[in-house]
């Protein structure tokens, strides 16, 4: 489905969103009205759909100055809807603007409205940056040890899953009989785990004085070098 027809579908449910063609893609602007339980609210938003959509997930700015800049924003001012893997997971399941709006944007806006009413978040939040990502993986693997999570994540980042290898969790079982299922599920999402892995490495090094050198393979090194050359990717190592 092209962006125009996706927007037609979107507008059936969100009639106050309007599509504009731009040089580098599309801008969908307008008002979203939402309600759930006691919450009834409205937001002015700007959804940017770049030309290599749906490969790139849309980004959103809130234009009504209703959401405080300190409330879960990215450095470029766009809303930070969820951890990147979760965004990927939800959006790849159905690459449409309607799915994006229904299952990522509107839930985020609802969380903000709830927060303004109740002073707390309904489902909690991720810690910012790499810490939040690490915690998310801990939850997914049901493991609390940083290093074990890092080991599992390394397998994902390097694309090095082998069922007969020993599981990094210390169970002395083969991966396929241990955390393999969990890894294979994540592999099937076709997510680029390398970015998350490098970010977590950087954070562990800085905050936990952790020796990351054994984890820096040639491949990891190459990615770090290339990322350093990308503007707006201000990651620390």
């Amino acid at each position: 489905m092209c962006v125009e027809s996706q927007c037609i579908e979107l507008r059936k449910k969100y009639p106050y969103l309007f599509l504009e063609k731009k040089n580098d893609g599309y801008l969908i602007r307008g008002t979203i009205f939402l309600e759930k339980d006691n919450v009834k609210d409205r937001y002015e938003v700007e959804i940017r759909v770049v030309s290599d959509y749906p490969r790139k997930v849309p980004t959103v700015k809130e234009t009504g100055s209703k959401i405080d800049p300190n409330f879960h924003h990215n450095p470029d001012g766009t809303l930070c809807l969820e951890a990147p893997l979760t965004v990927h997971e939800i959006f790849r399941a159905n690459e449409t603007l309607l799915n994006f709006t229904d299952n990522l944007l509107v839930p985020y806006l609802y969380i903000h409205s709830y927060y303004r009413m109740n002073g707390k978040l309904p489902f909690g939040e991720h810690a910012h940056g790499a810490e939040g990502i690490l915690a998310d993986y801990k939850k997914r693997f049901e493991i609390s040890d940083d290093l074990i999570v890092l080991g599992l994540l390394q397998i994902l980042a390097e694309g090095a899953y082998r069922g007969h290898h020993l599981c990094p969790c210390g169970s002395k079982k083969k991966l396929r009989n241990c955390h393999g299922g969990c890894i294979r599920n994540l592999v099937s999402l076709r997510f680029n785990f390398m970015k998350d892995f490098i970010q977590i490495l950087g954070w562990l090094k800085k905050e936990r004085q952790f020796n990351v050198v054994p984890y820096i393979s040639k491949r990891v090194k190459n990615v770090i070098t290339s990322l350093k050359n990308v503007p707006n990717e201000k990651w620390t190592y």
Binding site: C2, P15, L34, L81, P84
Partner: protein, 378 residues
Amino acid sequence: MEMFEKASVLSKSLEQFAEDLDISESKYLEAEKRYEAVGEWLGKNDSPLSICIPEIYPQGSFALGTVIKPMTNKDEYDIDLVCFLAKLKKESTSQSALKTMVGDRLKAHDAYKRLLDQEGHRCWTLNYANEFHMDILPAIADDVLRAKGGLLVDAILITDKQKIASGDSEWPKSNPRGYLKWFQSRQETVFVALRKQLAEAIKASVDDVPEYKIKTPLQRAIQILKRHRDIYCSRKKDACKPISIIITTLAASSYKGQDNVYNTVYDILFGITDNAIKQAGKFYIPNPANPGENFADKWDKNPDLPKSFFEWVNDARTVFGSALIEKVDKMEFGKKLEESLGIKSRDIDDGQKYSGGAPVYVKVNPSSERRPWGSACV
């Protein structure tokens, strides 16, 4: 700004207004579903009408694609339908028998019985509260006119209670399908091109694009003019409201395939001259699908009708003519149009904010328990 450039900016604004005035797709499909269900009921095997092979088809603005929103949220859309009994012959029935047959069959359905309004002069009306009025016009074939061929192959005979009561037993004539064919022929080239364009844009075949999705500049222009008329007449209480069929007929007659709504509106308005609608000193706006019918037949007897009509045309000329083209920016166009069309412009407030009316609240998906994150502080 160059003149032609201005016309295209204006056209874009007008197009947006017309889009906002149009019936929504879901409402359109809803109406279609509703009348198809009525048709099915009338033609069901156990229906006394079934031997006459009844057919329900839309006529008027719903068929022409020129429906506009009612003036207020309380008003309902008018959907005009023909209930055509193909196998019933004039010789074997009477006007009142035909009318009663259709009415009785509607009354035999519990829901339709409840929705049925008092009997009209020509129609049976189903009132779907807060949604539609469906006027159902019982009709049979006009075999005499049909034999003449051309657009007349769809000519029908209809009933009129009032006429019968006054002692006139002649069947009134009509030809809505012929009129639709004529209207479609006026815009065919543009319609085909737009349909192809949309098909390409959504990577579908032309046949997969439903006809109702296409709106030509002619249809948009008619919607704009009808809305302007509604607003104009609601403010000027003593004016006789120019009827839609006259506006539509004059617009479609003068349409030359303009690809831009503004130019279409402009050309329609400035093409309406005394000369264009008079013949031998009398007002004459013939039905292109039924030459015996003059839409302006009451004008000579009631001079208020042409007077009101020309006053409205003049007002529309000031709105859509030079006064508008002199305004420089989009905002000013928008404001002027808002005032004359009685709806909000998308260009004001940057056009992007919701403005007025009943907002549509979306229910937050209950299974979407999200936890926001921030990449800000690494």
